[in-house]
């Protein structure tokens, strides 16, 4: 009793502001004061009764995919990672039951969700063997109001998935106390001893993540132009051959660390300073630029090349 009256005047002022609302279990006290003049002179004041309300626990949750877009994958790949953020949008500490739904519509193939993993070290990246594998009911993530946790959904991609196809997996999070139509009440199950009441989200939220099969492939085309010492195109000693190598990436996605290497044909000699990449000269030395002459051939690093793009390398040799 003493505590609640003190709260009316002093403790309430110290409560922190909260995005999810007043914390479950908080007691709201209200009282009014009236003052008036006494007929005998002087002033009297009267304080009303104190009305107390307990703030119930509101059960709310949100789930959002944090992948920037489709996650690139390939047919028959395993442990492919989708990432979601689960946030406690309620006003009390709450555990959430997680489920991955892999057999949903709106896609071209059904991935097979093999496990749900909690980002237990909080670094935002799936760490095999370090992050905790989720087991429903055994380690439901417990979140404070406004707190969130990253959840990884690992899936296998069917071998029959083809380039450009998309597969969808939904992550569902449900408040462990209960869910249902907003306003549904779980008597006495709220934090602080009050009721738990289902909020606007139904205490049940989900979001979808997509895998996209990206099967990029590269094709090399090599061509040669010969100029002989007489202005013709015959292959005689002294003729200059300009080789042109074109790497074309097709499919979808991109290829990383693409590299072109070509040997100098027997019976010919590399002409110094003739390597170009996309028309720009590349030095013969093995240095910071994209390529070099190795003594037996040329090598040019193209980096990451997106599907639909091509890179052209040229160099010259002289026929011995």
């Amino acid at each position: 009793m003493t505590a609640s009256v003190l709260a009316a005047g002093t403790l309430c002022a110290a409560l922190p502001a909260h995005a999810a609302g007043t914390l479950a279990g908080t007691i709201i006290n209200n009282s009014a004061t009236a003052t008036y003049d006494l007929p005998t002179g002087g002033q009297d004041s009267v304080t009303s009764n104190i009305v107390s309300l307990t703030v119930d626990e509101l059960l709310d949750v949100s789930v959002a995919s944090t992948d920037g877009g489709d996650v690139a994958t390939s047919p028959a790949a395993t442990n492919q990672v989708l990432t979601f953020r689960v946030t406690n949008a309620g006003n009390g500490n709450e555990s959430f039951v997680l489920t991955a739904r892999d057999n949903v519509g709106g896609d071209d193939f059904n991935p097979s969700a093999t496990s749900i993993v909690i980002d237990s070290n909080g670094n935002g990246v799936y760490d095999p063997g370090i992050d905790t594998v989720y087991v429903a009911g055994a380690n439901n993530p417990l979140l404070a109001p406004d707190a969130s946790v990253l959840i990884f959904v690992l899936s296998s991609i069917p071998a029959g998935a083809t380039d450009g196809q998309r597969g969808r997996v939904d992550l569902v999070a449900v408040a462990a106390t209960g869910s249902g139509v907003p306003g549904t009440t779980f008597a006495g199950q709220g934090q602080g001893g009050g009721d738990a009441v289902v909020g606007a989200t139904g205490a049940d939220a989900e979001d979808d993540g997509f895998y996209a099969v990206s099967a990029a492939s590269v094709a090399f085309v090599k061509s040669a132009v010969v100029v002989d010492p007489f202005g013709g195109a015959t292959r005689v000693p002294g003729s200059i051959i300009t080789y042109r190598l074109v790497a074309s990436v097709s499919g979808s996605g991109s290829l990383a660390n693409l590299r072109i290497a070509d040997a100098i044909p027997a019976g010919s000699s590399f002409r110094a300073g003739t390597i170009t990449l996309e028309g720009a000269p590349v030095s013969d030395a093995a240095d910071a630029d994209a390529g070099e002459y190795t003594g037996s051939g040329i090598a040019v690093r193209l980096g990451t090349v997106a599907a639909g793009a091509a890179r052209t390398v040229t160099f010259q040799v002289a026929i011995d």
């Binding site: 009256v5 309430c12 119930d56």
Partner: protein, 153 residues
């Protein structure tokens, strides 16, 4: 010493109430929208034990002069509970405070000063105390009600 004063304050109310010429009671109701059998939404007022963030509350203050003489310079003040955002009043003549009762006035006359020294016009949400100052004395045996609204933060 402080504890002693608090305990003393507790021993007093029943005696103090008996001596007071004016009685003042405070009630709180929550507005709930219910859908009846025909599907129509209806707003009801319930006396809540418990509330959730976002609930709309109606505070009702009832006063009555139980004495034999008029009560003049009658002033009723109600600090807004900390977990409640003030949402206006239906009772005319209210004055507001955004600084815990140091300054009172119409909302349009009040300003909120920010930490960087700038100030902006006060809004309903800034009000942390509401007050009614009666120009006329409350005659013996008469009373009335004052209402204001709030939303659970």
């Amino acid at each position: 010493m402080r504890l002693f004063l608090i305990l003393l304050a507790f021993a007093l109310p029943s005696a103090a109430l008996a001596q007071n010429q004016v009685a003042l009671t405070s009630e709180v109701f929550v507005e709930r929208t219910v859908t009846d059998a025909s599907g129509a939404a209806r707003v009801t007022l319930e006396a809540p034990g418990v509330v959730t963030p976002g609930d709309h509350l109606v505070f009702v203050l009832s006063y009555r002069n139980n004495g034999s003489a008029p009560a003049s310079d009658f002033v009723v003040s109600n600090p807004i509970p900390d977990s409640v955002v003030f949402d206006g009043t239906e009772s005319p003549g209210a004055a507001y405070s955004v600084d815990g009762g140091r300054n009172w006035g119409a909302l349009s006359a009040l300003a909120v000063r920010a930490a960087d020294g700038t100030s902006r016009p006060a809004t309903l949400a800034d009000v942390n105390s509401v007050q009614w100052r009666f120009a006329q004395a409350i005659p013996a045996g008469s009373g009335g009600q004052l209402k204001f609204r709030g939303i659970v933060k």
